[in-house]
Symmetry: C2
Amino acid sequence: MQRLKGFREFFPEPLPPGQEWSCDLRQHIQDCWRRTARRYGFREYDGPPLEPLELYTAKSGDEIVGQLFNFEDKGKDAVALRPEMTPTVARMVAATERAYRKPIKWFSMPQLFRYEMPQKGRLREHYQLNCDLFGETDPGADAEVIALMIDVLRSLGLGEEDFVIRLSSRKAWQEFFEREGGKVEAAYAFFQAVDKMERDDAETFARRLEPTGIRPEAVRAFVSEGKPTVELQGILDNLTARGLGGYVRLDYGVIRGLAYYTGVVFEAFDRKGEFRAIAGGGRYDGLVEMLSGGKVRMPALGFGMGDVVLALLLRERGLVPSFESTIDVVVLVEDETLRGESLGLVQRLREAGRAVDYTLTPLKADKQFKRALELGAGHWARLERGEDGGLVVRVKDLKTRVERVGKPGEEPALLAE
Amino acid sequence: MQRLKGFREFFPEPLPPGQEWSCDLRQHIQDCWRRTARRYGFREYDGPPLEPLELYTAKSGDEIVGQLFNFEDKGKDAVALRPEMTPTVARMVAATERAYRKPIKWFSMPQLFRYEMPQKGRLREHYQLNCDLFGETDPGADAEVIALMIDVLRSLGLGEEDFVIRLSSRKAWQEFFEREGGKVEAAYAFFQAVDKMERDDAETFARRLEPTGIRPEAVRAFVSEGKPTVELQGILDNLTARGLGGYVRLDYGVIRGLAYYTGVVFEAFDRKGEFRAIAGGGRYDGLVEMLSGGKVRMPALGFGMGDVVLALLLRERGLVPSFESTIDVVVLVEDETLRGESLGLVQRLREAGRAVDYTLTPLKADKQFKRALELGAGHWARLERGEDGGLVVRVKDLKTRVERVGKPGEEPALLAE
């Protein structure tokens, strides 16, 4: 009755032998995602993890089914665990957009699922930050979304030396394609060929291009010349004005394979090139209209950032914080006749917002103290009988070794520094 | 392509017409859950939302299958969306307990799924806070877990007048059953009968009891006498020492239907009796052993608290905070020649941790100001040309109406109060 292949269990740190996924790290990543998105004025939404299968086949065709966890439920409905968030958010926005001010800036961090043959490092689920902006065509919106992607990565401690956003434009490629006399019916094949050109050898690339009517040399020249369109230059200038210019570079080598992008496209990579893309996104002005069955027209762009590559990169760069010390105060119960009053002390400290632990059963004083150290607690606190027979609270800061004494109820002040 | 029946979409507030589930409220509930569990020294874990079907049938028998979202995946594995967390956490603890200090105090807030016929108010998914304590038999552990349940509800603003924990004991009922000469083979039927007695009429109750050899009058007398066992009295005293005595009352009317409870059982109810149970739990000292196939023996207790009844109760009691104001500062761009510098201002404020919004495209000054008010922003900030031609930042607190002026870079101080 082990867990299913490709699914993760998340444990508290320090991780037990043989476990590699930390619930503390997952929470740290999700906290940074949420905090940064909120600073940008993005609001959180979520949808069901189980959706009608048709939601995905309508967007991506029947071929997608082979990659899904799909089944027929007891009510004979064809359903699937969500492999991506875009169809869900497009439905939610199309249904309610009139109630929201534009632009609509939304984020979510769903767990997504795909049925793939288990391979090393290939999981069947991951968490993905999704940030989308609806209702604005101006490149200022594109810059805002790219700046958010940069700041999400920065909030995790990654800097200019760690990652770069490769910025490109599906529109620029479309114009190139038309200028070079590409065959209209082969446009998608052309995007696919460019998407794969970095991985392909010259021969394969030429073969992929053949039906499109475009010469490989023309493609290579366009990429190496790398002349920004007016729109891309505007986005670069906007990011530079924010002080984020060093995180982004124009690079037509990126095009993104999916059919529905209509404008800017971008991907984040680690500078050393050790990992797959960290995040990617772009503008898809026609998608809401398509997914709403033509009912709602709404320009949009967004990006997705998964947690798996990100966690590997953070570990590799030494950017995973220590999660060992989660206890602020250990209350020592050295005199069992004071257990009741000690429980009152525990309660007061917790009500003051402190994380507090104590031994649930009688234990020798030195073992309780040892446990406080093992827990990495910041302080211990204990009740003692004062000279007049009344109770006093003694608090010790385990870092500075400073002790303070006060009356019961004065604990917040004793812990103040 | 609507969402599936019984599944929720969570929208940002203010909620659009026809929508009842707020992502902000979901986050508020989960924040309170997490914060309180951490104050008690509980650590977060999570497992897969999809599990082998056998994990649930091994614990609950084949009858459970009718209530599950289960299917055969493409690899021919029988799998199910998790209907509860206990089998998952028991597996995780059994596999790794040697690496953790005892007692192990863990929490999680999984989304759980059950296939039920759609009815008004009956959902097919919900979030559930799960808190469990492993490795301690002492009633001090029971009191700690019950105190946590109380403080989780208090953290949401619920008080003594809103809810009560009904405290009972499967062990006390077991002793009663043996003392009264109940038939050993009918023990489970007896627990089931007691579990349903509050909803059943006298006749039905008597019929349910018949095969057990216990008289209805004896059961009623035991409940109304309500004499605490030594163990229960110890738990009540422990909670009273924390100042939480007013939140709990002994009540043998609670027994909990599931087979595996072995000691204390408890349920939280709203005092007005308008809702189903808010939360429930108990001690299950044999479950880890059973679920680990006899490999690991580990006493344990825990509770679960769902988000659906809780959200309804919070709304009914007026305890849902306002989520309308999520923006700290709106940056006004009144002079388009200053847009680049204004983006720098936006960036600095966000890097100082503020939630900042601004108009992505040129807009009349009065409309920008109106939007700041609509967003419920705390401040606006804008760049102006000073008398010497240099730039100054003006910040206005929209509540106190105080304006402050400083140099670019001084914004954190201008916003300080």
